[in-house]
């Protein structure tokens, strides 16, 4: 408790803020965190180019959520995610 009290107020808010992909607005570029997914889904998305902490562009929100992944693919592959999956993909939510 003493340690927490000594930390600056703003740091926890920035570093722990995690917004589900479903709540990010269209057109924003966000960094994704796949830790909330089950391992099979995580491995599949990783192989599809959606690597942990990679930056994606949100082309469509809702059902499905469409992401353009340039960094992980090389050119710019598009991946569609059902809401069930997109809900579990967390982002930094701030845009890059």
């Amino acid at each position: 408790m003493a340690m927490l009290a000594s930390m600056p107020d703003s740091i926890p808010e920035i570093t722990t803020r995690r917004v589900p992909l479903t709540e990010v607005s269209r057109g924003s570029r966000v960094r994704v965190d796949l830790a909330g997914l089950e391992s099979d889904d995580r491995e599949l998305l990783r192989a599809m180019g959606l690597r942990p902490e990679c930056v994606v562009e949100v082309c469509r929100v809702g059902e499905p959520c469409i992401l353009e992944v340039r960094e992980g693919c090389g050119g710019g592959c598009r991946i569609g995610l059902s809401r069930r999956l997109a809900d579990r993909v967390l982002t930094d939510g701030t845009g890059v």
């Binding site: 499905p64 090389g74 598009r78």
Partner: protein, 675 residues
């Protein structure tokens, strides 16, 4: 290995590996042309395409054999596709009928427009220690996106040959063929295992303008095609056009095939001497093969259009639209192409369920596919709706449509039941790559269509042929003497023809001509009674009497029971079976047959097709599993007869209960007249 061509020992095997949507199959088709065959990997539902490398003007290339492996995002994933690739690369798995052995080389097909992701596959494939050739495909598309790939640097970094190709335009294919037919593949010494290897290689061999603007056309199309309303509307338009084309265009070749087999049967009847062998050939073999081939145009056209549509990139978007509709019933969006194509024929539909990635989802899809109304049900629907609503085409059309709706509803509810009971488990959310919109490649679509046609002929044709012969045997034996009434009628016909008897019918025809016509009519009546007698005395007829108590509660008598039993193997024989029994002839589509069937009576003199019995039969035929080839394919695709048994038992129970309800409700509503 390698060396001189022609000897078996010199055959080199090259396995093609690549991510989905990298144009691997197009490249495979380009390299092997028509010199390919499709089989399965034993113990799996994965197709194995094996081809021979073709080189124009060179015969010595026949010693290179290509195996097209399923597209995979990673070789370490826990999916059927990945397991197959791993098995082949380890030398423990080979296409059916071929010995398992390590491939001599691996051709890794990469997508130049997504090279960074594809490099992970190079790293994974290199771990198997086989010599490697890398083909960087879609190089033309990459150039349009201002992506440049340095093949020489790439080759020097991985220590294996790299060729830039475009399977679509043919660019680089000559060089690739040369490489594959020689032993220039090399074990990639330069592929590292460290985490940043792919990033490092990508940064060095590929360059792209960083200020590339977003593809707004793709954005707009994606938003439209996946929109809750617009997406559903465009899906409806596309599918209506697809089915219109299938039913409209396939009708011509279907008529030709039908006509050709009819003529062949007639020619054989007139040419061959009578006897059992002729009957077997005409009623068993020709009729059976004809009944199979007549569906071939629909199946090939469906395959062609679906392949073309798939290549445009649209289907991946449509899968998300339909996912919203199917998900509440425990089915994924992937199931929509199989369910859709099931309205033509359940066999290719069940085979196309391979595209459903999750095992439970795939099994649920396969189990409910036969509920969709296939074309084989159409003759039954036509007959029964005509009997229910004679001279009321509007009501006939309504009832006809109702049959399709009932099938879809029963399928969806059955999927829900299966997912809540025997296939309980969490559904995986859908993640699909949305490939770039492309103009489809007609060559690949045609080769795929020919391939599908052969698979259908080989797998279904043989089974249906066997069923036809068995049905013919059951319906023909034991042979019985003609009934006394038929013999008497023939004697009367002889005397009429001789002029000993003159029928008292008004006619303007000359007397001699009348005698001949009258005799012919009497002989036809004798034939009809003899056929009816033989049908009753056959094994199938006797079975009808034995099993009648089972179907009595749903309004069936001995004759309808035989119709149901004969339809077990193939439901389209119902109309012909009823016509043979009731009328003694099998021209169920002939003029006046519907009216005659409507007037037909049971053994106790009551009407055969009461409204309640007709409703009951209609519901039964919508819901029942009456297609032995479908059960065979279900067993094969689900990995055992257990699921085929579940499918048969469930559909039979649902059909029986549905028919019973229909019979009781119709009897209650229509009173004595209905029952």
């Amino acid at each position: 290995m390698g060396g001189a061509a022609g000897t078996l020992a010199s055959v080199r095997t090259i396995a093609l590996v690549g991510n989905p949507n990298v144009g691997k199959t197009t490249l495979f088709n380009r390299l092997s042309g028509l010199r390919q065959k499709t089989s399965n990997f034993p113990g799996t539902t994965q197709e194995a395409h094996v081809g021979v490398l073709s080189r124009s003007g060179r015969e010595d290339a026949a010693h290179v054999r290509l195996i097209d492996l399923p597209g995979v995002y990673g070789l370490g994933l826990d999916t059927s596709e990945s397991r197959v690739c791993r098995g082949v690369l380890e030398g423990t798995l080979a296409p059916s009928g071929e010995p398992a052995a390590l491939p001599d080389a691996v051709l890794i097909v990469l997508d130049a427009t997504n090279l960074r992701r594809n490099l992970e596959l190079v790293r994974e494939a290199s771990r198997f220690g086989r010599p490697v050739v890398v083909a960087v495909n879609l190089i033309d598309a990459a150039r349009r996106q201002t992506i440049h790939v340095d093949a020489e640097l790439f080759a020097s970094l991985i220590g294996a040959p790299v060729v830039l190709v475009s399977a679509r335009t043919g660019e680089g294919l000559g060089t690739l063929r040369e490489l594959l037919s020689t032993e220039d593949a090399a074990r990639p010494a330069g592929v590292g295992d460290e985490a940043g290897w792919a990033d490092d290689v990508y940064a060095r061999v590929a360059s792209a303008r960083e200020d590339r603007s977003r593809d707004t056309i793709t954005d707009r199309l994606d938003r439209a095609f996946t929109h809750p309303l617009l997406g559903l509307a465009s899906f409806t338009v596309v599918m209506t056009a697809l089915f219109w084309a299938i039913f409209r265009l396939a009708a011509y070749p279907m008529d030709w095939i039908d006509g050709a087999f009819g003529s062949l049967g007639a020619w054989l009847t007139g040419t061959l001497p009578g006897g059992l062998l002729s009957e077997l050939l005409i009623d068993g073999v020709v009729a059976g093969v004809g009944a199979t081939l007549v569906f071939l145009p629909q199946i090939m056209l469906l395959s062609l259009l679906i392949t073309l549509l798939e290549q445009t990139g649209y289907l991946a978007r449509a899968a998300f639209v339909i996912d919203r509709v199917l998900r509440p019933f425990g089915l994924p969006g992937h199931a929509f192409v199989p369910l859709l194509s099931a309205h033509a024929c359940a066999l290719p539909a069940i085979m196309s369920a391979r595209g459903v990635p999750d095992r439970r989802d795939r099994l649920a899809t396969i189990l409910v596919i036969p509920f969709m109304s296939c074309t084989a049900r159409i003759p039954v629907y036509v007959l029964l709706t005509a009997l229910l609503f004679p001279d009321r085409p509007g009501m006939q059309a309504l009832a006809f449509t109702g049959c399709y709706v009932l099938g879809v509803c029963a399928g969806l509810l059955s999927a829900l039941v299966a997912r809540r009971t025997i296939l309980r488990g969490k559904s995986r959310g859908m993640a699909l790559e949305l490939p770039a919109y492309r103009v489809p490649d007609a060559r690949t679509a045609i080769l795929t269509t020919i391939d599908r046609g052969w698979i259908f002929l080989r797998k279904a044709g043989t089974v249906i042929l066997a069923i036809s012969v068995v049905l013919w045997w059951l319906g023909t034996f034991p042979k019985v003497d003609p009934p006394a009434e038929a013999t008497e009628l023939r004697e009367v016909a002889d005397r009429v023809e001789a002029g000993e008897i003159v029928l008292l019918e008004q006619s303007d025809a000359p007397l001699e001509e009348r005698a001949s016509m009258d005799a012919e009519g009497i002989r036809a009546e004798a034939d009809a009674r003899e056929a009816s007698h033989a049908a009753r005395a056959s094994f199938l007829g006797r079975l009808g009497v034995f099993v009648e108590p089972v179907f009595e509660p749903i309004g069936a008598d001995r004759q309808l029971t035989v119709g149901i039993l004969a339809s077990f193997a193939a439901r389209e024989v119902f109309a012909a079976t009823m016509a043979v029994q009731v009328l003694g002839r099998d021209d169920a589509e002939g003029e006046g047959t519907f009216a005659a069937l409507g007037r037909a009576t049971r053994d106790d003199g009551s009407p055969l097709f009461t409204p309640a019995a007709s409703w009951s039969m209609l519901v039964y035929f919508v819901l029942a599993m009456q297609c032995l080839p479908t059960l065979v394919v279900t067993a094969r695709e689900s990995g055992g007869w257990k699921w085929a048994g579940v499918q048969f038992a469930w559909m039979t129970i649902v059909a029986y209960v549905g028919a019973l309800l229909a019979y009781e409700i119709a009897s209650a509503l229509l009173g004595g007249a209905g029952a």
